[in-house]
């Protein structure tokens, strides 16, 4: 220790210990950042990425068109989508397809939000609920029913049901 540098440097080093000690001492009197969970919870932030929700349009139709882009985008392979055709009697979503089965395995999900980014209709969105507890693994496969929002909570105007894109319709004429 005495050989590495001058004595003055050593004295300076010793004094810097004192400076460090004063900082930690001051911190004794600073306010603490601890939240007493579960009595206190952190205030919600708008873009929290937690439990998914499958959204609807204002008129109640599901936004999800069963394209499975979210399943393709998911890095963890947590989403399973089975699509089916909309019929006129049983129309779930505007357009041709809807998701007959839509399941997310929340144990595989890493809550990255890529599915939300990939979705063309803003159907799958990561919401704010984070208290997701379960007893066994099956409980964590969230099915479509659990993920769908109630019809009263739809937002946005549904596009006109289109069987195909306009320029194709032109060609068919």
């Amino acid at each position: 220790m005495a050989s590495s540098g001058s004595v003055i440097q050593d004295v300076k080093d010793l004094l810097s210990i004192g400076k460090g000690l004063s900082i930690t001492f001051r911190y004794l009197f600073r306010p603490k950042t601890t939240f007493q969970y579960p009595e206190e919870k952190r205030p919600d932030v708008k873009r929290l990425r937690w439990r998914h929700k499958l959204h609807r349009y204002a008129n109640g139709l599901e936004r999800c068109i069963g394209c499975a882009l979210c399943a393709a985008a998911c890095p963890a392979g947590a989403i399973y989508v089975e699509a089916a055709e909309n019929t006129e009697e049983d129309r779930r979503s505007p357009g041709e397809r809807y998701a007959r089965r839509y399941e997310i395995n929340l144990l595989r999900c890493i809550f990255c939000g890529y599915c939300e980014e990939a979705c063309p209709t803003q159907a799958i969105v990561l919401g704010q609920e984070y208290e997701l507890v379960g007893d066994d693994r099956e409980q964590f496969i969230y099915t479509k029913e659990r993920l769908l929002v109630p019809p009263s909570e739809g937002h946005g105007e549904a596009p006109e049901g289109m069987r195909s894109l306009p320029y194709v319709q032109e060609e068919l004429k």
């Binding site: 220790m1 210990i17 460090g20 900082i23 930690t24 001492f25 911190y27 603490k32 950042t33």
Partner: protein, 329 residues
């Protein structure tokens, strides 16, 4: 009947010291967690009891319920013995520490010191050296490379710093002129020895923290380097014993420093046990404060500090003290 009285009083003191040290060490763990937390802008344990006061009890109960695993190929007897030695050594040192002035209990004058041996200082040095055995035996008997390395490093560190400790204490002994602890405390009735021998005080403190394997000298126990060092293979109650030994050592070392350098139970106006306790508490706070602040010393720097700085300086201090005392005698 006098002999029976003496034995009973000694027994009572022993029991008080034993349980007192255990409780002090246990609540020191909580104090450390709380103070460290407060220094890091968070609160420590506060769920287990009001202000977390039942936390040490919860920890003790948990330790008792843990599986007491012994590694295959471990020397069973020595493995069991090592924590016992560690705890014993750390507690026995307290026998020569005077906690307060002489009191009258039921008309009997009682010294608040278990054993006022005429060579009390030697007892402190000798018994605290025994603690190294606990660590050496722990690492060796675990039959594990990490434990072995940790114990080798730890024991090398401890014996290196014992020289610094011994020489600092020697300066005090030369100044006072006696090995008897009560003489040393008596000497400080007017002025604490820390003011007479400031260098010895600082050197003793540093050496003692290193002896105790406490941060910033805790590389042998650093989780990142050696899992838990010599304690790696220990679980349950045996581990708790090592942990306890470390904290009892903290209390003991602080008590020794208080007795030798800070005036023991003497206060500016009045003497009392609570002065002693207050000083020990202040030193214990210092321990935690250092832990919260300083980064760990790398092992070779640690050894270098012990041999190339503390040893020469404390030796110089002894020489100067001896010269001054002889010339002013």
């Amino acid at each position: 009947m006098d002999q029976i009285q003496v034995i009973l009083i000694a027994l009572a003191k022993s029991i008080l010291i034993f349980f007192g040290l255990i409780m002090a060490a246990a609540y020191m763990t909580l104090t450390e967690r709380k103070v460290l937390a407060w220094m890091q802008a968070r609160i420590g344990p506060n769920r287990v009891g009001p202000w977390g006061l039942l936390q040490p009890i919860a920890d003790a109960v948990k330790a008792m319920f843990k599986e007491d695993a012994i590694p295959e190929g471990a020397d069973k007897f020595v493995f069991w013995l090592a924590p016992v030695i560690a705890v014993m050594a750390s507690m026995m040192t307290f026998a020569v520490i005077p906690v307060g002035p002489q009191v009258n209990i039921f008309g009997l004058p009682v010294d608040l010191q278990l054993a006022d041996v005429s060579v009390g200082i030697l007892v402190i040095l000798a018994v605290s050296s025994l603690g190294v055995y606990g660590i050496v035996l722990a690492g060796w008997s675990s039959n594990s490379k990490y434990s072995y390395l940790g114990s080798v490093r730890s024991s090398a560190q401890m014996i290196s710093y014992e020289l610094g400790m011994g020489l600092s204490i020697l300066s005090v002994v030369i100044t006072v002129g006696s090995l008897r602890i009560s003489d040393i405390v008596q000497f400080q009735a007017t002025v604490p020895l820390a003011l007479v021998q400031p260098l010895a005080f600082i050197l003793y403190t540093i050496s003692a923290i290193a002896e105790n394997n406490r941060p910033p000298f805790d590389l042998p126990e650093a989780e990142q380097e050696l899992v838990q060092g010599y304690m790696t293979e220990y679980s349950g109650l045996k581990f708790a014993m090592f942990y306890l030994a470390e904290y009892v050592n903290m209390v003991t070392i602080s008590s020794v420093a208080t007795t030798l350098f800070l005036g023991g139970y003497h206060g500016p106006i009045a003497d009392g046990v609570w002065w002693f306790l207050a000083k020990v508490a202040a030193l214990l706070f210092g321990y935690v404060w250092l832990r919260a602040t300083l980064p760990r010393l790398r092992y070779d720097r640690l050894m270098r500090l012990g041999w190339q700085v503390i040893l020469p300086v404390s030796l110089l201090n002894v020489v100067v003290t001896a010269v001054v005392v002889t010339m002013t005698a």
